[in-house]
Amino acid sequence: MRVNWSRSSNESQPSKVFIMPVPEHLNFYIDPNRCIGCQACVQACTECDTHKGESMIHLEYVDRGESVQTVPVVCMHCDQPTCAEVCPADAIKRTEDGVVQSARKPRCIACGNCVIGCPFGVPEINIEQQLMKKCDMCYDRSSVGKKPMCTTVCPSQALFFGTRQEIELLRPRSMPVNEFRFGRQSITTRVSMMVPRQSHEPARYVDVTAAMDERPASRHVSLTVIDDPFAEVQTG
């Protein structure tokens, strides 16, 4: 992280000027509905200079038997990161620009508290290295004016890095949300999730556990004409 100090002429009162490595106006937006499961993000993530050879992004099929829908899991870079708060070794740091860094040696003892604690299921322990590793928003790139690898390569721009103005211009059908409710816990994040834009009332938060016990409908979203396109097809 670069910090610029500018000292006033009065030595007893130095003033600090932070230049955020990842500027405040540049944000990470994820729209899981646009994910096409191509894994360009996973592959490009392994090419990032912080953790070459390993991907910090996971891609999951929601239920391949029912749908081709996939969801990329990136670190949400919480404002009050649960992973850092539950770390007994104080190995996880959040820089002033809101990026939650990956765990650091020699502090990390691979206890797994962060894995259990993170509500988004992000951190993973590398057993061989005895180290938790997670997405750091490609800090080697984002701190010097480049975009994270995953957002650069994503062919459907499910992962997007840019300004709020840019995404609002590009995505009239959705809107960013960065507050998530898990039961009684509320978490705000640096990374925003795109949710369908409701004309009558903007979504203020995502209630993650609201639909926990419902079975997801497989093709309910946009096939406006019929529910099961293959209902009338006979097997051979």
């Binding site: 360009a40 090419e47 070459k52 050879g53 062919p155 004409v225 293959f230």
Partner: protein
């Protein structure tokens, strides 16, 4: 000799496919590359811009190239990991000769000795059996300089009429239909028109897996209010969130297009002014589709009538629109008719040749567009010319400085070449950028034919599956080891830049071809010193033709991030001009060398043609014995016959082995659970793979991706029926039966997933 020299398992042990993962210097975060080379992906027709990181003559990684306007830094997983082909353990560093005494079946051979042997065999076969006894099969992932050179090599150097290319397996249906309708074969619009379309019709294109960056364009259109219609027997990622999904029965596309046109006519959703002014043949076509009532269309296509009506209404009443299709409608024995049907509904709407109003086939290979322009097709000469047209023959004979009578006439398509090898008419073969043993249908027959070859020389950078049969293998160049141009799928001519030198004895393909010519003592017109020299001749050869590259230079390409052809060097009066290219075709006031101002389309009267396209069922429809339809296709992590991508570890890990995709209702009927070994059988062969039970496919259809070889090859089952006009094989539909396998197949214990 052309039989495999030893047990294929031993050849695989020696030459792969083995998996390469990122290792060594490529894992280091401390290394600063010597340079970043701006270039393009080596895989599909989207031709994403990418920068390759080079250190000490090795490509160690990539950096996005955000300035290249088509993809703006976006890439798919294949492009990200392509660099792992460099320094690969399977890379051919020497020429090889067939050697049954060697444990791997091949042994290294000196390059010059190999060239001498190749030349001597070509000479012998041609002297004994005639020039046409030696054939050339080439491919569309080569730069245009090389595709041009291959055509010249076959016709001027070998003087054989038998040259064809792997585009026969992909683009020829769209090409033929486009030529019949528009008089020219190129995407009608640049992709920048897609986001401005209010209705996007996608037929037979698994966009998210086969042209990933196009997904962003289509979904940007939706953000702008567009409705997306997807026609496919499977719910692919692009179909999952579309506005209207038409679950078509394989092989029935022309019925759907005819039905939609009939609804357009019934409801008068037609642009009469456009039809009147810019087309011919509407009345005959209208007459021919009268029988395609919505009920009949629904019955034949397997799509509910209400969906057909909805699709026709959205399409018919759209203010702007874009229709795109790919192999799903083209890989049929009526592929040309299917494409003509698509073009018919575009022309009837009048929405072409202007902003937000477009049509295109999505070309699959890196140079699938350029590779079908400059003469490596059996019936083609450079500039998109016709080898049987006397004026065209004279023009090219002049450029090549040969006598027109010495220019061979049309040959036959790639599958017919295989049949002629089987029949003994063709005795020798030189192949490059083509792996027919994996990519041609009914490949047991292909193998049988290959074994009859007297002499077979393959040029490649890995030992591909077909090259197992070669007498000699010459070590060719990776895309990043050469330079040249390709025309990506929009018709934009772009530059591939050289990043590293060829390793070992490997060298640029154009040098290998010229070395053979030199050893044959037939160097006329085969003495280029660089790709730039070849390109200059190609430009001159295309001047004034339909596919006019004469105004394109490497510098202009770099400056403009590509130049859309036609880019003439002179205006219609012959005055030199600095043309910047033609992004959008068929604009109302445009000029072309065929119409000469009479109209925007490439016919003397300047008008587009409607084509009557009658429906016929697939060549092999289902019956009691083989009651299911097999359709084949691709997955995002693999490319074509897998010679390259099955050697890249991270890509193989993404989707390691082919599966038989089937619906749960079908699986239940057959007693098959997800992951069980299942055997698919057709009249031509069997294939045992693990089942993948998913609701995202028609219950009367199974799907198998075709990128794997040998006993995992989907093409053991497919039929070699071909479209009579384009000769494209019918990969998308044939009849099969499926049973639960009694046990795991033998290969499960013998082969790694990628082998």
């Amino acid at each position: 000799m052309a039989t495999q020299p030893t047990d294929p398992l031993k050849i695989i042990e020696g030459y792969g496919p083995h998996l390469a993962f990122t290792s060594g210097d490529r894992l280091s975060t401390a290394i600063v590359p010597d340079r970043l080379v701006k270039t393009h992906c080596c895989f599909c027709g989207q031709q994403c811009g990418i920068q390759l990181k080079v250190k000490d003559n090795e490509v160690i990684g990539f950096e996005p190239w955000e300035e290249f306007p088509f993809n703006r830094g976006m890439l798919c997983p294949k492009g990200v990991k392509r660099y792992l082909q460099g320094s690969h353990p399977d890379r051919l560093l020497t020429a090889l000769k067939r050697d049954p005494s060697s444990p791997t079946g091949f042994s290294a051979m000196g390059y010059n000795e190999a060239i001498a042997r190749v030349a001597s065999e070509i000479d012998r076969i041609q002297k004994q059996h005639g020039n046409d006894a030696f054939s050339v099969l080439t491919g569309a992932s080569l730069t245009s300089e090389k595709t041009y050179l291959m055509g010249k090599f076959a016709r001027v150097c070998l003087k054989t009429k038998y040259i064809d290319y792997n585009g026969r397996l992909c683009m020829v249906s769209a090409a033929a239909a486009n030529k019949k309708a528009f008089g020219v074969d190129r995407a009608a619009n640049p992709w920048s028109d897609v986001p401005k379309a209010k209705v996007i019709w996608i037929s037979g294109a698994n966009v998210a897996e086969c042209a990933p960056i196009t997904t962003d364009y289509v979904w940007q259109a939706r953000e702008n209010g567009a409705k997306i219609i997807v026609v496919d027997p499977r719910i692919t990622p692009i179909a999952r969130t579309c506005d209207l999904f038409l679950p078509i029965k394989p092989g029935r596309d022309i019925a759907l297009f005819n039905g939609v046109l009939q609804l357009m006519i019934e409801n008068d959703w037609l642009d009469h002014s456009f039809i009147e002014k810019h087309t011919v043949g509407f009345d005959a076509l209208a007459q021919s589709v009268r029988e395609w009532t919505p009920a009949k269309t629904a019955d034949v296509t397997g799509i509910p009538e209400r969906s057909i009506r909805q699709a026709a209404q959205w399409w018919g009443t759209a203010s702007t629109s874009f229709l795109m299709h790919a192999r799903g409608i083209e890989h049929h024995s009526h592929g040309v008719r299917n494409c003509m049907g698509a073009i018919n509904i575009v022309l009837a709407s009048g929405r072409i040749g202007r902003e937000g109003c477009g049509y295109a086939t999505i070309t699959g290979q890196a140079n699938g567009q350029g590779g079908r322009e400059h003469g490596q097709k059996a019936d083609q000469l450079p500039g998109g010319r016709d080898i049987e047209n006397p004026a065209h023959r004279e023009q090219i004979a002049k450029i090549w400085n040969i006598n027109e009578p010495d220019l061979p006439h049309a040959g036959v398509d790639a599958y017919e070449v295989i049949r002629k090898i089987d029949q003994g008419e063709i005795k020798g073969l030189l192949s490059i950028c083509f792996n027919p043993k994996v990519s041609l249908p009914d490949n047991h027959f292909v193998t049988k034919a290959l074994e009859k070859l007297d002499f077979y020389v393959a040029i490649d950078f890995f030992l591909n599956d077909t090259a197992h049969h070669a007498d000699i293998v010459l070590p060719g160049s990776l895309q990043e080891e050469d330079e040249g141009v390709v025309a990506q799928f929009e018709g934009r001519v772009i530059k591939i830049n050289k990043a590293v030198d060829c390793p070992g004895d490997a060298r640029e393909d154009w040098k290998i071809i010229q070395d053979i010519a030199a050893k044959l003592g037939r160097t006329h017109g085969m003495q280029f010193q660089s790709p730039g020299e070849i390109f200059d001749e190609l430009r001159a050869a295309t001047k004034g033709a339909v596919v006019d590259y004469s105004g394109i230079t490497y510098e202009k390409i770099e400056k403009q991030f590509g130049v859309f052809w036609p880019c003439p060097s002179e205006d219609p009066d012959g005055k030199p001009i600095n043309h910047t290219g033609t992004p959008r075709m068929f604009e109302p006031a445009s000029w072309n060398p065929v119409a000469k101002g009479a109209g925007p389309f490439y016919f003397p009267d300047g008008k587009a043609r409607f084509n009557v396209a009658p429906y016929e069922p697939p060549t092999e429809d289902i019956d009691a014995e083989y009651p299911l339809m097999l359709t084949t296709g691709r997955v995002v992590s693999q490319f074509l016959s897998g010679t390259q991508t099955r050697r890249i570890g991270p890509l193989v890990e993404q989707y390691p082995e082919p599966r038989i995709e089937m619906h749960p209702r079908l699986a239940a009927k057959l007693g098959i659970a997800d992951g069980d070994w299942a055997t698919a059988e057709s009249r031509r062969g069997t294939c045992t793979l693990r089942a993948q039970v998913v609701t995202t496919i028609r219950p009367d259809t199974i799907f198998i991706p075709y990128h794997w070889a040998g006993r995992k090859s989907a093409n053991q089952l497919t039929i070699s029926a071909q479209d009579p006009i384009s000769k494209i094989p019918e990969y998308k539909v044939c009849a099969v039966r499926v049973t639960k396998a009694a046990a795991a197949p033998d290969y499960a214990s013998e082969l790694e997933p990628q082998q």
